[in-house]
Amino acid sequence: MEITRRQLLTRCTQLLVLTGTAAAALEKNGEPPGPGGTYHMADHWWGMMIDIEKCIGCGNCVRACSKENNVPEGYFRTWVERYQVTEDWEHPKVDSPDGAINGFPANTDPNVKSFFVPKLCNHCADSPCVQVCPVGATFVSPDGVVLVDPDYCLGCRYCIQACPYGCRYFHPEKHIADKCTLCYHRITQGLTTACCEACPTGARRLCDLKDPKDPVHEFLRNNMVHVLKPQMATGAKVYYNNLDGSVR
């Protein structure tokens, strides 16, 4: 078939216009970008409040997280530590049998100060794990959650080395770095995290620092609040009330 230059140009222009229109239509009618229909990432800045005195070390949070997120056995997105501190507070005895997925055996020593410390990703604002990722597969979302793109992660494990809190692990089946997502699939639907929902005493509470009505503001104003390893200057957003100086 013979085709003139004019016809070729016309067809190319038509194709361009039609492709552009189709893309625009698809974007309008298809799934909107971002996690949910009414959810706007820029309106939130997620973190967590943890009240040490309320934690009873039951391990409900660990079990709930494991089930909700299909966490492989032997790895932990959240875990609970038990500190047993004597007068030599710089050298506490710490245990966390299987991440406390089944709670703890009873403490038999009455002469120690004993308390529980739930741990999870601190969703740092200046996250060292995000800094070191060679391809940007791990990133801080606009609503302040540190996430890993499973289709992009190389599995180099530099981020695992860079996390000061031991919150990341190498997924044995997916062969990528994995970690707490702050139940991103839930919180963007208006729900709380699995661990917070399962906590019987309200020791863990999800918080939104951009929401002026969130109790976090009162929590931060009225309590002796600390983050883990503040000397690391990571901008951690898991806030602990009454955190003992012996906790690492």
Binding site: Y75, F76, W79, E81, P92, K93, V94, D95, S96, D98, G99, K119, P128, V130, Q131, V132, C133, P134, V135, G136, Y152, C153, L154, G155, C156, R157, Y158, I160, Q161, A162, C163, P164, Y165, G166, C167, R168, Y169, F170, K174, H175, I176, M232, R248
Partner: protein, 389 residues
Amino acid sequence: MINGVAGYMYPNEVELQWSLLIVLYPYITGLVAGAFILASLERVFNVVEVRPTYRLALLTALAFLLVAPLPLQLHLGHPERSFEMLFTPHSTSAMAMFGFVYLWYLMVVLLVEIWLEYRADIVHAAQTRTGAARWIYRVLTLGSQNVSAASRSIDDKAGYIVTLIGIPSAFLLHGYVGFIFGSVKANPWWSTPLMPVVFLFSAMTSGIAAVLVIYAGASLMRRTPIDMRCLDTIGKYLFYTFVIDFSLEMLDLVHRTYEADESFRSLDFMVHTRLFVSQIVIQIFMGTLLPITLLAATQVLRLSEPVRRRIYISASMLTLIGIFAMRWNVVIGGQLFSKSFLGYTTYKVEFAAREGLLSAIMLMVLPFILLFVLVKLLPPWEEHEVAEA
């Protein structure tokens, strides 16, 4: 109590993330950088004594450089995605620069310098050899058959410039590898600004030692006499760089001990227990103090040629073991203690696993096979030696 764990580790820390293969990575890149710096001594600083090893050092650097990315590639969870590091590098990541630093060093420095150095030989081979070899050399000429005196003079000038660029590039290559570790603030065993400098000097030490051993080994295999002036000079440079390297490492140790920050007790305990053999016995005594003492003896005592030769070769082999132990202690040692400073884990090398001992052995044998091929293709020996052979 979890198997192999003493005290308390965060539960995700029990398993080591960076294995034996990541020990090989800085070791191999170190050999590359060191071999190149030795080669540049002759080219830029006009140390004519090391001329017999100039070409051999370049080929050694190339053989090891070609293997350098393989341990990383084998280690990745998704090696098929590794090219993303070149296409979509993350600008804040120290690791993201590896591909660029590597390619710069390979394409801009090493291959160009080797080609310029060998061009006349390649053209000559393309004209005189027959069969498949003729075609290989023809391709290697890259279409340039001009070997006139004027053209060789241009080669020489260009080679000089490439070596000038090459020296800071070699420093960059290995200093950068040190920075990958030294910039991890979460890990006090790694996090020190001295790390790139220590890596650099240990790289020079190991590269010089490797070329010395390869030169001596090749001479033995080819039944040609070893040039003692050359060996004495390399031995002297090995001694100097090793003394600087050891001083830097001791500075780091003294600084850590004197400062004794929150991690000190934990690290100190680790050095006295789990790292005792690999750090104190193998790295410091056997791999550093002993070769430095041996090399010092050659500098201050009047020793006969055969004795000096034996000393240089054994000191170099001990050096290679010592620097390997140093890489091991940095990479593996940095993962044996908990970031809570309350416990320690264990690393057991598997044998026939992807990141096991067998893979590591194969990766360490591979550069020698490549070097053998390169030496056959581009003989590094002086012309009169070739004629004798």
